[in-house]
């Protein structure tokens, strides 16, 4: 026990002696949490529109006003020349062209139907789909309102039965994107700091030649591993606490679940991730190699974790791969416990997956280290 305390002291001294590291460990993650959580939103607002209103009638003008009032669209460009609108889209200045043909109002009154043209920049297909859905909704609402002004008699409800769809969004009725992203980004920051640091740790001693000194000490392997992991484990939990405070005070993220549960699960998760970092550290030769490998795994874990894009959208084989992804489990846990108030019973499968991961990665690290030191 005393040896572990000594190693702990030494490792902490080493971390904190490097002045440049302090802001990286404590300031950078918090700034990132603040900035990136604000940025990470799929919400589609203020889509810049080029308007070609060839009709100019009050009906057409009111339609345009509807588009603008929705908050989803902003007309930034007005023209009568489709080629000019085209150019604006090529340049990337507008994402949608709304063209109202001449005779729009007249056709609507006379035939009951009139077209409008929507041309969307679909480079980002998903966003284009959402924009189109918004546009359709606005057109639909407007049509219904026109019905009242244009039509003489209201239709008989029984001839045209309607399905009355009412909805409620649970856990996040205002569809606040921050609630969703902040816990996820917090997970990443805690993970990155811990894993990168531990991945570089042993290999750094190898590169600098200090590993020999450690190998000739009477230090037991178990104590060595614990001594190497514990400082980062503590650091990462401190990061988590700072992040949770920011999440609560700045983003007002609801924390319905038990915070003790959050810490306990984070503790298990971190053992796994730090073990993984340490394992990388034992079989690489240079800090550069260790960093590249850690980066590679991290990017794979992050992009396939369901943080940014839903796991359900992935093809089947990729969904199976996410079963091996600790970040995916942990993000799921954080979101469920914090936002939905899930208890331990609800996250048990995820918990056991994390335990399995922690046992595997630490075992690998310990075995690999033994090979290095003999």
């Amino acid at each position: 026990m005393r040896t572990i305390l000594f190693i702990l002291q030494k490792e902490f001294l080493q971390i904190f002696r490097n002045r440049a590291m302090l802001p990286i460990l404590f300031v950078m993650p918090i700034i990132q949490l603040l900035v990136l959580s604000l940025a990470a939103t799929f919400e589609v607002k203020n889509t810049p529109v080029s308007l070609i209103d060839l009709d100019g009638s009050p009906t057409a003008r009111r339609l345009v006003a509807r588009f603008e009032a929705s908050g989803y669209f902003t007309v930034v460009h007005r023209t009568y020349d489709p080629a000019a609108a085209d150019e604006a889209m090529q340049r990337g200045d507008v994402r949608m062209i709304l063209q109202i043909p001449a005779g729009f109002e007249r056709d609507l009154r006379r035939d009951g139907a009139a077209p409008v043209q929507l041309i969307l920049d679909a480079q980002d297909g998903a966003t284009a789909g959402v924009v189109q859905a918004y546009a359709n909704r606005i057109l639909g609402d407007y049509t219904r309102d026109l019905q009242v002004t244009f039509a003489a008699t209201p239709p008989d409800p029984r001839a045209h039965p309607v399905l009355d769809v009412v909805f409620s969004h649970w856990y996040n009725p205002e569809l606040n994107y921050h609630y969703f992203m902040v816990p996820g980004i917090l997970v990443l920051l805690v993970t990155m700091i811990g894993t990168f640091l531990s991945a570089m740790n042993v290999v750094r001693e190898k590169e600098l030649g200090t590993i020999e000194q450690l190998n000739v000490t009477p230090l037991r392997k178990r104590d060595f591993i614990v001594g190497k992991l514990l400082p980062f484990w503590i650091l990462a939990l401190v990061e988590l606490s700072a992040g949770l405070v920011v999440a609560r005070l700045v983003f007002h993220v609801p924390m319905l679940g038990n915070l003790a549960l959050v810490y306990a699960l984070t503790g298990v998760y971190l053992v796994g991730m730090l073990g993984l970092g340490l394992w990388i550290s034992t079989f690489t030769e240079t800090q550069q190699q260790a960093m590249f490998l850690a980066w590679f795994l991290m990017v794979v874990f992050i992009l396939m974790s369901g943080l940014f894009t839903p796991i359900e959208s992935m093809p089947g084989w990729a969904q199976k791969l996410t079963l091996l992804n600790p970040i995916a489990y942990f993000i799921e846990i954080m979101r469920r416990v914090l936002l939905k108030g899930a208890g331990f019973a609800d996250v048990q499968p995820q918990f056991w997956a994390l335990v399995a991961f922690a046992v595997t990665s630490v075992t690998l690290a310990v075995r690999q280290y033994r090979k290095v030191s003999t």
Binding site: N18, M28, V35, L36, L38, A40, T41, F42, V44, N46, T47, Q90, L108, G112, A113, Q117, L118, D121, A122, D124, G125, A126, A135, N136, L139, T143, L146, A151, P157, R158, A159, H160, P161, V162, L163, V165, V166, S168, H169, N172, L175, Y177, L208, E285, Q288, Q289, M291, F292, A294, F296, V299, I302, L303, T309, E312, S313, P315, E332, K340, G343
Partner: protein, 368 residues
């Protein structure tokens, strides 16, 4: 000049001798591109849904099969009572619950209106919103077909055209983004430790007493990596074209030149980090932890920049990958040329020049 050439050759050897790192450098980007290119989608489909149907009559059954037949939904449970729905969401079994009211068909026939309640798990607001839109649209379309007569009155008929990507493939969006992400990080990471490593291992003194000027040392350090990165980007672009079928509508030459510019930018950012840090550890933490998330989130790679608050759109201007993405997507997907892209190009060139000048200055200060 011959000292400089010798130095560059030496740097080349350094890189080529380290087989393991080289393997990592070439292998990783390829695996990442292939993996993500196939796996990352932001379309919403196969959403798991629980259907609560106390009525169980022919109308609700018809509606249910209509919903489940669509590619958006995948039924997980069909029940007749509404208890325990909280559990469904808390255990993540489904993202949506659809509740039909009791005596559904009867209500529809006699009152002309019947109620469907849609509950979504809105912890993910985007998915919640999208699946609600799908559900409403599907139910309403189904409802129309229940009507005896066609709906009366007015119609504004939207004629929609999806430009540049008519089938709405997300590959078109993500592959260029991955190119930017991979290049930025691999390049910055490679050079960020070049000078710190010399400082840490004590070989810096040797460099300092050599007749090389600071500018030469820096260019000499960047050059080999520039070639290496160019090789990496060629592999990536070929994969994008052949495996993922991302179109190349603009000029290939221009694309390669722009890639070269972006590589130079990322490499010089790495060098700048390298001149400012003392240990490899610090350098790598800055280039990894500091660049990874901003490049993913603030470049327009995944999240649309238009919807961000104005302040953050301002911040995104400082992210080199943002400009590169506009360029790559412009050339590959829109088929535009220099006439439309000169501003973005100029900004990237300006950033590169800034990073280089700042590195040289930082470096010469240390010489004294």
């Amino acid at each position: 000049m011959s000292a400089f050439r010798g130095f560059v050759v030496k740097e080349f050897y350094h890189i080529l001798r380290d087989r393991r790192t080289l393997l990592i450098l070439f292998g990783m980007p390829v695996i990442q591109l292939v993996l993500f290119g196939f796996a990352i989608r932001n379309e919403v489909n196969d959403v798991r849904v629980v259907i609560v149907d106390p009525a169980g009559d022919h109308v609700t059954q018809a509606l249910t099969s209509r919903l489940l037949a669509s590619p958006y939904f995948e039924g997980v449970e069909y029940r007749t009572h509404a208890e325990g729905l909280e559990r469904v969401f808390q255990q993540g079994q489904a993202k949506e619950v659809i509740l039909f009211e009791p005596r559904f068909a009867h209500r529809l026939a006699h009152d002309g209106v019947a109620r469907v309640q849609v509950l979504t798990d809105a912890t993910d607001p985007n998915t919640a919103n999208t699946i609600l839109a799908y559900t409403t649209a599907l139910l309403q379309a189904a409802g129309q077909s229940l009507a005896a007569a066609p709906p009366p009155g007015l119609r504004i008929v939207p004629e929609v055209r999806m430009r540049y990507n008519p089938t709405l493939k997300s590959v078109y969006l993500f592959v260029p983004g991955l190119v930017a992400l991979i290049l930025m990080l691999v390049c910055a990471l490679m050079t960020s430790i070049t000078i710190t490593r010399e400082k840490e291992t004590g070989t810096m003194e040797v460099l300092l007493v050599s007749p090389l000027r600071p500018g030469q040392i820096i260019v000499g350090k960047v050059l080999p990596y520039l070639f290496l990165s160019l090789a990496i980007v060629s592999v990536i672009l070929v994969l994008a074209r052949t495996v993922f079928g991302v179109p190349l509508r603009g000029s290939a030459v221009l694309l390669v030149l722009e890639c070269l510019l972006f590589i130079a930018c990322a490499l010089s950012l790495g060098i700048l980090i390298s001149t400012r840090t003392r240990t490899q550890q610090t350098a790598m933490m800055i280039s990894l932890a500091g660049l990874l998330l901003p490049t993913v989130i603030l470049s327009g790679f995944i999240f649309p920049l238009d919807s961000m608050p104005p302040l953050l759109q301002g911040v995104s201007h400082l992210v080199p990958a943002k400009w590169f993405l506009l360029i790559v997507r412009g050339i590959m997907i829109k088929g535009v040329g220099m006439a439309e892209l000169w501003q973005e190009t100029l900004i990237l060139a300006g950033m590169t020049a800034f990073f280089l000048v700042a590195s040289v200055r930082n470096f010469s200060v240390r010489l004294d």
